[in-house]
């Protein structure tokens, strides 16, 4: 359904005077999502995962350049095609109610999403009512403003905006952030049932333990690139089921797997701006050698799975 190959996103920024800085928050990124599948993109907060979502939908700011290839239903996603398809065939489920218009009641906003999704104006209220009913929201909720809905309710409303059209690709950005465990599970269950209807779901999250039980596949995101693609089940077995040292360290950090905070934090951040050459995990990796610091690790395939590590 969606195939992302060697994607990179560059921002150009002018510092004092004419000094030009190029930031590359996303590079060498690969991802593929089949129909009816939930693929979780897992990585640390603030590592640029949302940019991936924005790149797929074509809503990045103007001062950035996107290279690589994104294919949707087999054909390349050009800016024109993105413009035609977003809201109709591919939709975003944003992080929080902060992405809703604060001065418009939520019912009106879902109705607008329905119209943008291709519904006729007179059908929109009925579709909205159905979507609210589907997620257990009372009709009265439609009259509420975003600041009046609770966190769990907000998830339902935001998920509802994605289901009023006939979208085949749903990109959910941090669907469990700020929710208690029960609400987080429910939020993921909503996405699961959408996937079970045959849609593809990309879940962007840092919350491994909430997302992995529901996802089909996991893409491990580190410093702007995907270092491993593996079945979600790999995170349930032994760490050896995972190929990349970062994925294994992440596995060990899970509450049920020893709660090990991983390699020495004093090694500094995993990522810095100028470090595009070597392996992004080189400074923390137990198996790193001189070659890891110099060359970007090549991608190695194992069926649908892949890893970017010289030692895997």
């Amino acid at each position: 359904m969606l195939t992302v190959t060697d994607l990179s996103i560059r921002f150009e920024r002018y510092d004092r005077g004419l000094t030009r800085t190029v930031l590359t928050p996303v590079h060498h990124l690969d991802l593929d999502i089949g129909p009816g599948e939930i693929v979780a993109v897992i990585g640390a907060s603030g590592s640029g995962k949302s940019l991936l979502a924005h790149a797929v939908l074509g809503i990045l700011p103007d001062n950035c350049r996107v290279d690589g290839e994104i294919r949707f239903k087999g054909d390349p996603l050009t800016p024109a095609r993105q413009k035609a398809l977003r809201g109709r065939e591919m939709v975003l489920v944003p992080q929080s109610v902060g992405f809703l218009n604060p001065l418009k009641n939520v019912g009106a906003q879902v109705r607008r999403a329905a119209i943008l999704g291709g519904a006729a104006g007179r059908d929109a209220p009925g579709i909205t009512d159905a979507a609210f009913a589907r997620y257990g929201l009372a009709p009265a909720v439609q009259a509420l403003f975003p600041f009046q809905v609770s966190g769990g309710m907000a998830r339902r409303v935001l998920t509802a905006t994605a289901t009023v059209g006939r979208a085949d690709l749903i990109v959910a950005d941090e669907p469990t952030t700020g929710l208690d465990q029960e609400a987080a599970q429910q939020s993921m269950a909503f996405l699961r049932s959408l996937a079970d209807e045959g849609r593809s779901v990309m879940v962007i999250s840092h919350d491994l333990s909430a997302v992995v039980p529901v996802a089909d596949r996991v893409a491990v995101f580190l410093s702007g690139t995907t270092v491993e693609g593996a079945p979600a089940g790999s995170f349930n077995g032994q760490p050896e089921a995972l190929r990349h040292p970062y994925s294994r360290d992440m596995w060990r950090a899970l509450p049920g797997h020893g709660f090990d905070p991983g390699p020495d934090r004093a090694a500094g951040p995993t990522w810095s701006e100028g470090e595009a050459d070597g392996c992004p995990y080189v400074r923390r990796c137990a198996r790193a050698d001189a070659a890891c610091a110099d060359t970007f690790p090549p991608k190695r395939h194992f069926g649908r799975d892949f890893v970017r590590c010289r030692h895997a």
């Binding site: 944003p94 604060p102 403003f145």
Partner: protein, 325 residues
């Protein structure tokens, strides 16, 4: 709601008390002698006894504090006193003059609000474009333009050179206010109102433009784009509602500036409004009239701010009546 209104009324009372005390002190310190100003050119014909009589009739022989308490006590009973220069009750003078100024200010207020809002919205929606740059240049230029200078310029062009508009006043010469038609009034209002609108528009433009840019960079605008909304759709369905609020508030909150601007415009165009009466009262030492105008304008500006405050509560559901200050 009721608590809010009560609190606002208490605020107003405190404001009026402070404004009266302050303006009375300032007037007492003024170097203009009301008796001299009243007598004017006849100063040689009036002897010291006559001057003393006039002063005694106006109560000027009493100390300032006593004058102030007498004036304040009368005021509380609703008596604003008699205007020395117009020889009419102060409230009558203000009522007549205010009606004239209201035409002028209402026209300028509506036009500057509408044009400023539309220009600001379009400039903000196409930030950095040619239209935006032109509008911004215009707004900055006008923000630095003195009202009286622009008034003189318009007068030179449209009244003197092109002879399209009258040179002064509110009605054609020889026509009494009762005889003047609506068209005659509007024709005389055109230039003063245009002056005030053109100058008043820049604040609305710049504020609206800034709010528009903010709205288009917001998370809800991003989500709207993700839903397939184009720039016009984001503006219409999302940004406009968020931008209208600051614009309306600004428009009500700048009633004070409009009032100040109208004084200058009325001077330039010899338009017989409240602004002109204020200048007369100040120059000729008409203390009751001056204080009356100060109080009325304070109420006027206060009302403007209160309306802005109330509108916030109507337009923005996040602001309730609880904790209203």
């Amino acid at each position: 709601m009721i608590r809010y209104l009560v609190r606002r009324i208490v605020h107003l009372a405190a404001l009026l008390a402070a404004v009266s005390a302050l303006s009375f002190s300032l007037v007492s310190l003024s170097p203009i002698d009301p008796v001299d100003a009243y007598i004017g050119a006849d100063v040689m014909k009036v002897g010291p006894e006559q001057r003393a009589k006039i002063a005694a009739r106006w109560g000027l022989d009493k100390p300032p504090l006593e004058r102030f308490t007498t004036w304040a006590a009368n005021l509380v009973r609703g008596d604003f006193g008699i205007s020395a220069i117009y020889n009419e009750p102060v409230l009558t003078v203000i009522g007549k003059r205010f009606a004239m100024s209201l035409w002028l200010m209402a026209l300028a207020w509506v036009f500057s609000g509408l044009f400023g809002f539309v220009l600001g919205v379009v400039a903000g929606a196409f930030e950095g474009g040619l239209f935006d740059r032109a509008v911004r240049f215009y707004a900055y230029l006008l923000a630095g333009t003195p009202t009286f200078w622009l008034g003189l310029l318009l007068l030179l062009i449209f009244s003197v050179a092109l002879r399209l508009t009258p040179v002064c006043c509110a009605f054609p010469p020889g026509v009494t206010p009762e005889e003047a038609t609506v068209w005659q009034r509007l024709w005389h209002l055109a230039l003063p109102a245009a002056t005030l609108s053109i100058v008043g528009v820049s604040a609305v433009i710049l504020h609206t433009r800034q709010k528009m840019i903010q709205a288009l960079r917001s998370d809800y605008a991003l989500f709207a784009r993700a839903q397939g909304e184009d720039t016009m759709g984001v503006v219409r369905h999302h940004a406009l509602r968020n931008v209208v609020l600051p614009a309306v508030t600004l428009q009500f909150a700048t009633l004070g500036e409009l009032f100040g601007g109208s004084i200058l415009a009325e001077q330039v165009f010899s338009y017989p409004g409240l602004g002109q009466a204020t200048v007369e009262a100040g120059l000729r030492g008409d203390v009751p009239l001056l204080l009356g105008i100060v109080l009325v304008s304070a109420v006027f500006v206060f009302t403007g701010n209160t309306v802005a405050d109330l509108l916030y509560r109507v337009i923005d559901p996040r602001i309730g009546w609880k904790g209203a200050a």
